[in-house]
């Protein structure tokens, strides 16, 4: 009987457990979980603050998940060292775990920027975990002004989550636009205007350079007083376990298409790892739930001796703020097709007969048809792209495609 150890307990770990069990029903699975919670959906921490979910509904898998999958979870335990020779993991508590196959699913940690005087700010938190959300929930009062550093997905989701729990929210970012890693300036401007209507204030192209307790001095010279500070400038892959035992690490743990690291019998998946973005050919950390699960599943299958590869990863995001949805996928390179819709926009990028990426704000219906074109690298001359670019549907595909997809098992 094989012995599997998984470090981390997020979406990637769940993928690994389900992947292992799809091949091996009997092997022992041990999960090392620093967080003391049953696996929950990390993105839901903002929905929790908003009152749109609760601690039961936000569980990523049902309460009996570990039991049904024969996995033992060591809650509140942190892995601190791997010995690949002895195939052994050491925990902070001193406990040791032997493995036949190991998966690193440690996710990422918030990066706290080294800003002068930050340590003088007492009411301060990152926004990554259920504990962070609970800390915010108990700290905030309707009288509070909150300053959020970082106008990326995490900062903005935090702002949406606490909108009705405080008086004022200011979001600052060194970038000149919101969601700068996902959207170009035109699309970002639409989202920003929408968020401003909700009552969120922005200081862009500007950031805090100095803190004095409850006051931030900005690069522009402006002064912002606040009662609570949220730092959301970005995340860093938790890759040190592999780095420390000699494995290959770049911005994240380097893995091949089977999610194997450079060290024998050690796999990695999720936010701690790097995969190739098929739209740019570049290996990078793509910190999204779908990829964490899919990569974890792939790792799990291979750990258990099965065959699975992940070779169609691409960055993508679907986020909404108070009813306005925004989707993006792939790379924004090549020729642009743009369509303005009421209160929204659609931008498709094509290059060398392929769809490379898109941004859509507003009418996102059936956008997955575009994502599939990117993922499958479908040659655009094999279908009626003139029709498809106006509206995603299966009509522009040939009848043969439809007979296959709608007339048989897929």
């Amino acid at each position: 009987m094989k012995n599997y150890v998984i470090i981390g307990n997020g979406a990637a770990a769940v993928g690994a457990i389900e992947g292992i069990r799809s091949v091996d029903k009997d092997g022992g699975i041990t999960v090392v979980s620093e967080e003391k919670h049953h696996v929950y959906s990390r993105p839901l921490i903002s929905y929790l603050l908003e009152g749109k979910t609760d601690e039961t509904k936000m569980l990523y898998r049902p309460a009996d998940f570990y039991e049904k999958n024969g996995a033992e979870v060591l809650f509140g335990e942190k892995a601190v060292k791997i010995d690949p020779e002895a195939k052994k993991v050491t925990l902070e508590s001193g406990k040791e775990l032997c493995y036949d196959s190991l998966c690193i699913a440690t996710g990422s940690s918030p990066f706290v920027p080294p800003i002068e005087g930050l340590e003088t700010v007492k009411n301060r938190r990152s926004f990554m975990t259920l504990d962070d959300a609970e800390a915010l929930e108990s700290a905030l009062t309707p009288e509070y002004s909150v300053l959020i550093i970082g106008a990326g997905l995490i900062g903005l989701k935090c702002a949406e989550g606490i909108l009705n729990r405080c008086k004022k929210i200011t979001v600052c970012d060194l970038a000149p636009r919101v969601l700068s890693s996902i959207l170009d300036s035109d699309c970002a401007a639409i989202m920003q205007a929408h968020l401003e209507k909700l009552g969120i204030e922005f200081l862009l192209d500007d950031t805090a350079v100095k803190f004095e307790e409850n006051r931030a001095v900005m690069k522009s010279g402006k002064v912002v007083d606040f009662d609570f500070l949220v730092t959301a400038v970005g995340v860093r892959a938790n890759s040190s376990l592999i780095k420390d035992c000699g494995g290959e690490v770049d911005r994240g743990i380097v893995v091949d298409e089977r999610m194997a690291t450079s060290i024998k019998d050690i796999f990695a998946a999720g936010d701690c790892s790097e995969t190739t973005d098929i739209t740019s050919g570049i290996k990078k950390v793509m910190a999204i739930m779908p990829l964490a699960y899919i990569g974890g599943h792939c790792a799990g299958v291979n750990m258990a001796g099965g065959e699975e590869t992940l070779c169609n990863a691409l960055p993508m995001n679907s986020i909404g703020f108070a009813g306005l949805h925004c989707m993006s996928a792939g790379s924004y390179e090549g020729e642009l097709y743009e369509e303005k819709t009421e209160g929204g926009v659609k931008r498709l990028y094509t290059e060398n007969n392929l769809l490379k990426g898109f941004m859509i704000i507003g009418d996102i219906d059936r956008a997955g048809i575009y994502t599939a074109l990117i993922r499958n690298k479908t040659p655009l001359d094999s279908l009626n792209f003139e029709l498809l670019k106006k509206s995603p549907s299966l009509a522009p595909f040939g009848r043969e495609y439809r007979v296959e997809k709608l007339g048989g098992e897929v």
Binding site: T53, P290, S318
Partner: protein, 142 residues
Amino acid sequence: MKRVYVNEKWCLGCHLCEYNCAFANSGESDMAKALRKKAIRPNIRIEEDGDINFAVSCRHCKDPICVKSCITGALSIEDGAVKVDHDKCVGCLTCVLVCPYGCIREGESGAVQKCELCLNNSCGEPACVKGCPNRAIVFEER
């Protein structure tokens, strides 16, 4: 497993399946009351281009990318059928972003909606197929 399959050349483009779907999932027992003066939001949709018509609903994929991608665990597979837990779903629409066939859509309640083969409503078997006048959609094993 039995699924809904499409015989494109027999589709009349009459949209009856859309109405039957909307009714079956309305929770109402009277069709007029369920649908009158309402914009319907069915889980099966007729797509058209010139003289081609065909119905599209969830394929209940064998390895469903929507389930793998769901950020909350609201989508799951039960006896081969892909279903939504409306209580868990937060309407992030990640599943809409990944479904290759455009078969899952924003619902009215904040959660997404999709074909569940009428297994979870009072109909018990796909209402769209039952009402199709020309066998352009069938519910069978293939």
